[in-house]
């Protein structure tokens, strides 16, 4: 009864959408040149502010316009408005930024703008900001901007209360790493927190840097075995083995012992990998080279020179993308 043909609409729809898009592009271009013109004329008023909003709606990555927007705020609103009015204005601006961040959580300029607004805002609710960034990191635990912003908020909170949040933040990174350890940002945050905690020793866990290091290496071993290809783990391992916070607090023999244990450990894993895949794991091999170099350097020996040279040759094979890097290293290493 309904012989209404509904299929094969795609072509028509496509054409209409193209037409629509063409119109959009046209009006966008007009708006863009208008705003840039006004910027050059240094027009700072409610009207130009509104136009910058419109343009940023369409293109939130246009950092020039964010800059212009800040110029308008400091040259117009911050001069015109009373403190109460300014608080209201800034809150509204925070709402606008939040809306944009929800859509574009990876655009640096929006985060940057938020930080600027908070720095200029006469009355910030930092706990609220922390809540926002926690929510964002729940949605996407690897968003680098989110982690960066989090550190900014934490430092503001610490300044305002005079209390360190390092331990809480350390636990937060553990929670995120447990969820997904393939997370550079979380491991990185850990490297920033560990020196603070080993200095302030808020709990027994941080009493001795050796005890902490051993515990951390055990934790990391889990991750290495779970996913030997995950580079964030290897990079963190290198940080643990080379960071001053450990090297300068451990006596030489203890440090050498740690290095030797890790060398054995990584070599074992590399053997397993080779057995299974028919080829060495390049992260294992790179780490082996690093540890051997560290051992030689610490002991002031050249015991591993040959082995390192051989490893670098093998690395050229299994990681041809960085061939030149390895060549450079082997040439310079033995100078």
């Amino acid at each position: 009864m309904h012989n209404v043909k509904r299929q094969h609409l795609s072509e028509q729809v496509k054409k209409q959408r193209q037409l629509k898009d063409a119109n959009k592009i046209k009006s966008y271009k007009a708006l863009q040149s208008q705003v840039l013109q006004l910027k050059n004329e240094q027009q700072y008023n409610a009207e130009t502010f509104k136009l910058s909003t419109d343009l940023l709606y369409l293109n939130p990555e246009f950092y020039t316009i964010w800059n212009y927007r800040r110029d308008i705020i400091s040259n117009y609103y911050q001069k015109q408005l009373s403190k109460e009015e300014l608080i209201e204005f800034f809150n509204k601006e925070l709402g606008f930024i939040m809306m944009k961040l929800k859509e574009y959580p990876k655009v640096y300029w929006i985060w940057n703008h938020r930080v600027w607004i908070l720095e200029n805002h006469p009355q910030v609710d930092w706990e609220f900001e922390l809540g926002i960034v926690s929510k964002l990191l729940t949605m996407d635990s690897r968003n680098f901007h989110g982690w960066h912003y989090r550190r900014f908020i934490i430092s503001k909170l610490e300044t305002s209360t005079g209390e360190s949040l390092a331990l809480r933040e350390f636990d937060y990174t553990t929670e995120k790493i447990n969820k997904d350890f393939s997370n550079f940002s979380a491991w990185h945050n850990r490297t920033k927190l560990i020196p603070i905690l080993l200095n302030s020793k808020p709990t027994t866990r941080f009493e001795s840097s050796l005890g902490f290091l051993k515990e951390e290496l055990g934790y990391l071993k889990n991750a290495m075995y779970t996913d030997p290809q995950d580079q964030s783990v290897w990079i963190y391992l290198r940080w643990l083995l080379t960071s001053d916070i450990f090297i300068k607090t451990l006596d030489k023999d203890t440090y050498i012992g740690i290095l030797e244990d890790e060398l054995k450990n990584v070599k074992e894993l590399n053997e397993l990998e080779t057995e299974d895949n028919g080829v060495e794991n390049n992260w294992c091999l790179k780490t082996i080279v690093t540890i051997e170099g560290l051992l030689d350097k610490t002991k002031n020996e050249t015991k591993f020179t040959d082995e390192i040279e051989k490893s670098l040759i093998r690395l050229k094979d299994i990681d041809p993308l960085r061939k030149n890097r390895y060549t450079y290293l082997s040439e310079n290493y033995f100078k």
């Binding site: 009864m1 309904h2 012989n3 209404v4 043909k5 509904r6 299929q7 094969h8 609409l9 795609s10 028509q12 729809v13 209409q16 961040l101 929800k102 959580p105 990876k106 929510k135 964002l136 949605m139 996407d140 690897r142 968003n143 680098f144 901007h145 960066h148 447990n178 969820k179 997904d180 350890f181 393939s182 550079f184 940002s185 491991w187 990185h188 490297t191 071993k221 889990n222 991750a223 075995y225 779970t226 996913d227 030997p228 990079i235 290198r238 940080w239 080379t242 894993l269 397993l272 299974d276 790179k286 080279v289 690093t290 690395l315 960085r322 890097r325 390895y326 290293l329």
Partner: protein, 628 residues
């Protein structure tokens, strides 16, 4: 009535694709015949849409039909008759309707869903009687036990699925639900608890990177092997060098030899993640099944599986029927096909009405006319035991969830079962059962009496487990006052071998039956099996003289599969048989709804891939001179 031959669907299809021949003349003349009686058609104008470009190509729902009285009798002719409103048939009806075919969709029952229906208690009672009178093809040996004393509950408080199913978050049915907008008629709930039963314990699985990384009981080597396998399984098709030599060998061997995995992990992978029926499953089939689980994680959240609220396949088939109706399909329940005459293409129905079928008549075996001669053989069996217990069973659910899966692998039961028993547990929040009660759907592919014993044994284990877990600690105190010292172990995963339940579980209903199908158990996720089935079943159809079902195409009865895998494939193969190709199966471009301007909270799933690149900028600072 015009006797002019209407172009077949296949012909119309090609004409619209190439858009050259004005084939529509005859088509339109048919439309204008009084039997169509659809003035509203012109109003929306898409019938002529081929030639007009000015019209907004929107999809207009079926409001037009309400403007004019609809005739109280069925039309004189249609393109396709579909008998049976099971899930496959309902999807087919909707696909054909949106393609532009006139469909008459009937069902001999007074409700939707046919062999995949969701039934109230009263409907179950009637159904059992019919099954035992051999009036329902596809089911047999039904046993129903409803103790008295539960008069407080209403029949309508319950909706039991004849073929309970779960939906993988990454699956063809889910894509179709979204594309067709049928999901808007439904509500979906998440399911992430997969337990499996071993050594009299219920184990919780470690199947995500998070679980594996944080699980203290796994050795480093096991962690590595498991992760390695999981990474492989996600892209196994592209790595034949790893599995090709195991093509005809059981998965168990493959996992052991290629990934050095041991029994607990192998069983978990095969039975829980893969939801396989036994250990005989071949490597590629098992890999297919494991992959669907793995890729379904994190598509909509931290769970691989969903299910529709208020009932599974029965509810989803209603959704597709509504979609078909919106596209113009005529619905008539309580109507059975009496006969079909393939020569003049007239179908007769139980209410003495008749219709000319221009194209095909699709018949579910469960809707076959009396004395049908060509019904395909249903040689495989699934045994089902469905119970409603007076328990919330919340101990079995993840936080915030309302359903879980328990698998009893081969050999885990006292009956030394060779086929697995799978159980789907659904609480009141799933909308299928009364407050403070829970439905347990158990099934096995084991044959005969043994299968029934397996089901009963599994039920017993579940009974003991839930009694133990839901009893409070004070009672435990008395029970274990014999020095065994497991006071604090009242947790899932602890042995309850010695547990003596002091209360008995109360049942509101116990239902046992055998379901039959022509689809082999293990092959269900392979598309080819449906095609083979259709070909086998339908080439004999004209040989029986004067059979009332000559010239019809039989659809397949539901398989043993606990997921919806295979459903779309089955519908597409029938569609292809009618239309000539499945290229335009649901090729409909619906207008976007206004959901976009609603704030759905922070949603950056689509940006996930970028995370890595961004982080690298920080790595420089962090890695510093560490980078080789």
């Amino acid at each position: 009535m015009s006797t002019e031959r209407r172009p077949s669907i296949a012909e119309r299809r090609s004409s619209t694709t190439t858009n050259t021949r004005p084939q529509f003349d005859s088509h339109l003349s048919t439309t204008n015949e009084t039997i169509y009686n659809d003035g509203g058609n012109q109003q929306h104008g898409q019938g002529q849409g081929q030639f007009s470009t000015s019209r907004r190509p929107s999809v207009v729902p079926h409001l037009a039909g309400l403007e004019k009285p609809l005739p109280e009798s069925i039309p004189e002719q249609c393109d396709v008759v579909i008998a049976g409103t099971g899930l496959v048939e309902s999807i087919l009806a909707a696909a054909l309707a949106w393609q532009g075919s006139n469909v008459l969709h009937i069902d001999s029952n007074d409700h939707y869903g046919d062999n995949t229906a969701t039934l109230t208690i009263d409907q179950i009672k009637n159904w059992v009687v019919k099954v035992n009178k051999n009036e329902i093809i596809g089911f047999k040996n039904a046993l129903l036990y409803i103790p008295s004393g539960n008069e407080l509950f209403k029949s309508k408080d319950f909706g039991l699925d004849l073929t309970p199913k779960i939906l993988f978050a990454k699956s063809d049915l889910l894509s179709l639900l979204i594309k067709s907008r049928v999901y808007k008629y439904l509500e979906f709930l998440p399911l992430s608890s997969f337990h499996f039963f071993e050594n009299d314990n219920f184990e919780k699985m470690s199947n995500t990177k998070q679980d594996i990384f944080t699980n203290q009981s796994l050795s480093l080597l096991t962690k590595r092997s498991l992760m390695k396998f999981i990474k492989f399984a996600i892209d196994w098709e592209n790595q034949p060098q790893i599995w090709e030599s195991y093509k005809k060998k059981p998965m168990e061997i493959f996992l052991n030899e290629q990934f050095k995995l041991e029994k607990p992990q192998i069983w978990e992978l095969i039975f829980s993640i893969g939801l396989c029926n036994n250990l005989k499953i071949n490597t590629p089939e098992a890999l297919l099944r494991i992959k669907r689980y793995l890729i379904s994680f994190d598509v909509y959240g931290n769970f691989p599986v969903m299910y529709s609220k208020y009932g599974g396949a029965g509810e989803i088939s209603q959704g597709f029927c509504r979609s078909a109706a919106v596209a113009g399909t005529t619905y008539k329940l309580n109507t059975k096909l009496e006969s079909f005459d393939p020569k003049n293409k007239i179908a007769k129905f139980s209410d003495n009405s008749r219709i000319r079928v221009n194209e095909q008549i699709i018949l579910s075996p469960s809707q076959a006319p009396n004395n049908a001669q060509n019904i395909p053989k249903q040689e495989y069996e699934i045994q089902r035991l469905t119970v409603i217990v007076k328990k919330t069973c919340k101990e079995w659910f993840e936080n915030g969830e309302s359903a879980s899966i328990v698998v009893f692998p081969s050999g885990s039961l006292s009956t030394n079962n060779s086929e697995a028993v799978q159980a789907l547990i659904m609480s009141e929040e799933t909308g299928i059962t009364a407050p403070d009660t829970c439905v347990w759907y158990l099934s096995t592919t084991e044959k005969g009496l043994k299968g029934r014993h397996d089901l009963e044994n599994a039920l017993k284990k579940m009974e003991n487990s839930i009694l133990r877990e839901s009893s409070d600690l004070n009672n435990e105190d008395e029970l274990f006052d014999n020095g065994t010292g497991i006071l604090n172990s009242v947790k899932l995963g602890q042995s309850f071998k010695d547990f003596v339940p002091k209360e008995k579980i109360q049942y509101l209903l116990k239902l046992y039956y055998i379901q039959k199908t022509s689809i082999p158990h293990a092959d269900v996720v392979k598309p080819s099996i449906y095609k083979k089935n259709l070909d086998n079943n339908n080439n004999t159809s004209t040989e029986n003289k004067d059979a009332p079902d000559n010239g019809v195409i039989y659809s397949t009865l539901p398989s043993s599969e606990i997921s919806y895998d295979g459903i779309i494939t089955a519908a597409k193969i029938l569609y292809e048989k009618i239309v000539g190709s499945d290229d335009d199966f649901f090729d409909v471009d619906f207008e976007d709804d206004d959901e976009n301007d609603e704030n759905n909270g922070i949603n950056n799933k689509n940006n996930d891939e970028l995370a890595f690149d961004d982080d690298i900028s920080e790595t420089v600072e962090f890695a510093d001179d560490m980078e080789l």
